[in-house]
Amino acid sequence: MRRIQWVVMIGLAVSLLAGGLGVGRAQQDTRPLVVVVEGRRPLDTAAMTNIGTVGISQLADQFRQLGARVQFARLDGPLSPEARVVVIARPLRSLRLLETAYLWQHLVRGGALLLALDPEEFFLAGRNVRPRYNRSGLGPLIAQDYGLTVGDTFLTEPWYAGSSIQKLENTYGLAFAELSGEPITAPLAQYDVPVWVWGARSLAVDPLGVGSAAAPLLAVQAAYAETNSGVFRTRAVPTPAVALQYDAGTDLPGGLFTVAARAMRTSSGARIAILGDSELLQNGYGLARDGAVVRYPGNAIFTGRLAAWLLGLPEEAWPSLPAGWTWIALDGDPADWEGQALAPTSDEQEGGEGAYDLAEVAAFADDRYLYLLARTYNDPAQPVWLELTRNDGATVRITAEGALLSTPDGRQTAVPDAGLAVGSVLEARVPLRVAGTGRALTTVCLGVAEQADARPVDCLGRPLSVPVARTRAPADALWERHMLVTIYSTAGVYLRQGPSTSTPVQATLRYGTTLAALGRTADGAWIRVQDARYAGWVAAYLLTPNGDFSTLPVLSESAG
């Protein structure tokens, strides 16, 4: 009897165990699968398992936050039919037939592919990038079926030089959302937020094809597109034999170049996104973080929304604007002012039609800009300007084209990076180096641009309080048009009033600060820098420029 009991108990235990295992097997992970191709062979790509500078673990986290499971795989066999998205970032080796076939099968099944490429022969960490994309079968296939063609180019800024492009950290630049109304880049376009790139190649997009639809996503304003990869050094040839210069007939003339694009097959639903730069999504570059805050919000928004599109998520589920940044678009729409701590100042109605009669003005400042929101009793019918008066008596008159700073000593300075938009309200943005960092403005006035006497029509009767928000401006309007310099010194770097250590220190610039470089001293030892907050001189050796300082104009020591 006892033996029977034992048998029954053991049988029960076994059946419970088997049942448990069975339940475990029956549970399937229904989350979409993202496969990141990595490993030295065959393609030597940036790895999701690498949390270092050149890894893409941050991108993998973005996919996870969107509800996907992420695995890495070597592309040495067919891809799992479960794979929804395949990521190939920065292949250093060429795509061979096997890899091409596996990827194409994945696409034919209706999968998605994110391909991030760098320029051919671009020198990275002691090695050259050789994806040979256009010599592989994948290039012609994607060009034919998806309308996306990758150029064998290197997009060159006017201030690049043969010596400066040999270092990856010297080739950073800005890409902006194409004005194609793409939902992926909509927030970037609305808020003028750039995406940082580090040495990009161009793409060509054929938007319409039989069974496919493609669209450009990001564009770079480049001086020209270099087509000779001999401009880069190699391990064997440390000094390139080919000069970095525009060669008519072979290089592509300057203009807007697409650096990121997406395409879709209507029949299978397959999706492809190609990036002409891989650093824009690598941990230590585009997806770098300063503590909990992303360093380049444009990159985080772009890659997050691109990931959501690749996963086929509904647009409502796409990531939007990250916290810690100021999101005010100059569009005359007050919707994005919600949530700001404001201390608006009201103004009594003066009578008349009310279109140029201030009803209420509010302001706040972040780390770079002063933002103004003004309401009139009726919508203005003519172009208008706003004028703020600082506590020191200086005035800043802001129009849609920029601003003019007038100081009490009679000097006037143009401020191209200020702006004004008129919609249901008036919205203005003024750089702090011009608006000042005071917590209040003496007054704000409104005028009509076409009035010959240019006198204000109405002014606030009381000072305007300017609360300071603990957020950061996601972009700087000056960046787009100049050589850039970035502080990569772990110690603070002094910003001085003049090009000498004997001149007063205006500010201490911290690691990661990027400014526009406007000029240099004749000996090149000092660089005149400026952004929305600061303007002054910094010793050249403390700066990492995205070009060659010798291309900067020589400025007098009293400049600025």
Partner: protein, 352 residues
């Protein structure tokens, strides 16, 4: 490295005549009891690739495949031309790549592989040599650039189906030192639906051998036809044509045992199938589908016809379909060529 040899076209033609003569003599023995029963192919869409200098199903010359295409069409199949600029159509039951002399591009191979992995079928006729008549009146013989061993499409078929072509030419060395490249496959045959009911000899006119892996694998490979044990895979046939004297070189040439000439393979789910035949002339109007008298329905090599039709039926999964008997007139030999040396010292000297 591709080696090139030129020699007088008359001599090359005489070589081919020898081959035809041998084959006719062999096949005519069985012609009288020839009959066919092959499955119908109603609703089957067969796409022929023509972008890589393949043989055309619409070409009625000796180098064309119009007879094979006509037979397939008469059985109900629809013959189409493959457009490589887009993915292989979903309605494609079979893709035929018949003896290209230009290798498939990686993009084409990728499209083809994706098609196969989605359950497609592929018939490959691989050719070892290319022969071109030059404007100067000479004939240019080169190793075929298409389907090179371990490259391109063959890399994929080897990895996933266990079958690839070799870079050789199946030859028999005669006692006088001559190499015979035309022959009938009289070696061992496998039990396979494609071979069911085929009793006659199958004629080859210069074939490369097929590498196969019939071990326990996720795929299934069946070598269908073998060359006789007296044949080996010569990898330096061009040297032979040039020098006139060459023999089996161990370690370089393919050993004479189990030289497969045609192989069938399918994946583990038996959804995608491949047949590779090592000779494109096996199916041409002037080769395996030659008739005698010319331009009649009297096929000289009826087994070739039956093999091809049953291969297509197996590839498209119609091998179990209702059969239809096909009968053809008995062929009448009309050519009695005299043997002629393949290459002489004189011709070799001229070539130099």
């Amino acid at each position: 490295m591709t080696r090139v040899f030129r020699f007088r076209s008359l001599q090359f033609i005489s070589v081919m005549m020898v081959i035809v003569g041998i084959a006719i003599q062999a096949s005519s023995l069985q012609a009288g009891r020839f009959w066919q029963e092959v499955p119908r192919l109603d609703g089957v869409h067969i796409y022929f690739s023509e972008d890589n200098k393949e043989l055309s199903p619409f070409d009625r010359s000796d180098q064309g495949l119009s007879r094979l295409a006509g037979l397939l069409s008469s059985l109900g199949a629809q013959i189409e031309r493959l457009d490589w600029r887009r993915d292989i159509p979903a309605d494609a039951d079979l893709v035929v790549i018949a003896g290209p002399t230009k290798d498939l591009g990686d993009d084409q191979s990728a499209r083809l592989w994706a098609y196969l992995k989605a359950g497609g079928a592929l018939l490959v006729l691989a050719e070892p040599l290319t022969v071109t008549n030059t404007p100067e009146g000479s004939t240019l013989v080169e190793y075929n650039k298409a389907f090179q061993d371990g490259r391109g499409l063959m890399l994929l078929t080897w990895a996933d189906y266990g079958v690839s072509t070799r870079g050789d030419l199946v030859v028999e060395r005669e006692p006088q030192g001559e190499l015979t490249i035309g022959f009938v496959a009289s070696g061992r045959r496998a039990a396979h639906p494609i071979l069911e009911g085929i009793e006659g000899d199958l004629a080859f006119f210069g074939a490369r051998s097929i590498l196969f892996d019939a071990s326990i694998q996720p795929f299934s490979v069946t070598p269908l036809l073998f060359a006789g044990d007296e044949f080996y895979g010569e990898t330096a046939y061009i040297d032979y044509v040039q020098v006139g004297e060459i023999g089996y070189a161990a370690g370089q040439d393919t050993p004479p045992n189990l030289l497969a000439l045609a192989v069938a393979a399918e994946d583990a789910q038996r959804t995608s199938r491949i047949v590779i035949i090592g000779d494109r002339d096996f199916a041409t109007n002037g080769g395996g589908l030659r008739t005698s008298p010319p331009n009649t329905a009297a096929f000289v090599f009826p087994a070739n016809v039956q093999f091809l039709l049953q291969a297509v039926a197996w590839l498209v999964g119609a091998d179990g379909a209702a059969g239809v008997p096909l009968t053809f007139p008995t062929p009448m030999p009309t050519a009695t060529p005299a043997p002629s040396p393949v290459a002489t010292e004189e011709s070799a000297a001229e070539a130099e």
